[in-house]
């Protein structure tokens, strides 16, 4: 009888050992699903291709409350071919949709600079919507030393 319980204990421990990475995997999966939904909201289901977008952001950010970045899209910005909008997504932020920028006829370059908040280290995503209906993106991993949302500033 005693050995039976022991055997069960060992089995339980083994199961727990295997379940742990599974759980974290599932969490990562749920997060990527949420990201996919956010991207789909912007693209409307159109394929998102990587390229044409340049996302300049520091690899290491000391303070997540203010991380400067620049997004530049390769586009002639003529009435025939232009960038309609640029979208910024920080997947691990409590509100991942950081901002959207829309360009009118008089916009000379598909380029913006701003400062954003980052709640922890994550891959920041920039999506450009072009006038021909295509969507292009760039991702940049940022390591954040002091996350936004932790201190009260």
């Amino acid at each position: 009888m005693k050995s039976f319980f022991k055997r069960r204990l060992v089995l339980a421990r083994l199961a727990a050992l295997f379940a742990l990475p599974l759980l974290t995997l599932r969490r990562a999966h749920a997060q990527s699903e949420a990201l996919d939904a956010m991207v789909a909201k912007i693209t409307g289901g159109a394929p998102l291709r990587s390229g044409r977008v340049k996302l300049e952001i520091p690899v290491l950010a000391d303070n997540g409350n203010s991380v400067s970045l620049r997004v530049a899209v390769d586009s002639p910005m003529t009435p025939a071919s232009y960038v309609k909008s640029i979208h910024l997504i920080a997947p691990k932020n409590p509100r991942p949709n950081v901002a959207a920028f829309f360009f009118g006829v008089g916009a000379g370059r598909a380029q913006i600079s701003t400062r954003i908040r980052l709640s922890g280290s994550q891959g920041v995503l920039a999506i450009a919507a072009l006038s021909d209906g295509s969507f292009w993106s760039a991702t940049a991993e940022v390591a954040v030393t002091v996350s936004a949302c932790w201190d009260a500033s």
Partner: protein
């Protein structure tokens, strides 16, 4: 809401000119509490538009992910002399606006 806007006073027609905007605003996330522990409601500048002689050339829709005292830089093509007008509004409905004159030669 105090704002600083940098627009080159002179430009040549066809030039790409950089416009820089910085507005004093806490961009309250809604996740902070005050000294008494009560939540400070979310209040961010959610929209900023730039119009060049009445035509919208740039618009930003922002959330709580934009840092306090939001800073923006973008480019417009110098067309004709006139006025750049900036309008923004925050979640509490407080609106601000600023204008800058631009002289285009050529």
């Amino acid at each position: 809401m105090a704002a600083r806007i940098a627009v080159p006073a002179n430009a040549r027609r066809g030039d790409n000119i950089e416009i820089r905007v910085a507005i004093q605003h806490p961009m309250e996330t809604g996740y902070r509490t005050d000294d008494n522990g009560t939540a400070i409601p979310k209040n961010v500048i959610n929209k900023l538009a730039c119009r060049y002689n009445g035509v919208e050339v740039f618009r930003a829709e922002m959330g709580s992910g934009i840092s306090a005292n939001p800073y923006l830089s973008f480019f417009i093509v110098a067309g004709s002399s006139g006025e750049l007008r900036f309008d923004w509004v925050d979640d509490s409905g407080v609106a601000g606006s600023e204008r800058a004159a631009i002289l285009v030669a050529g």
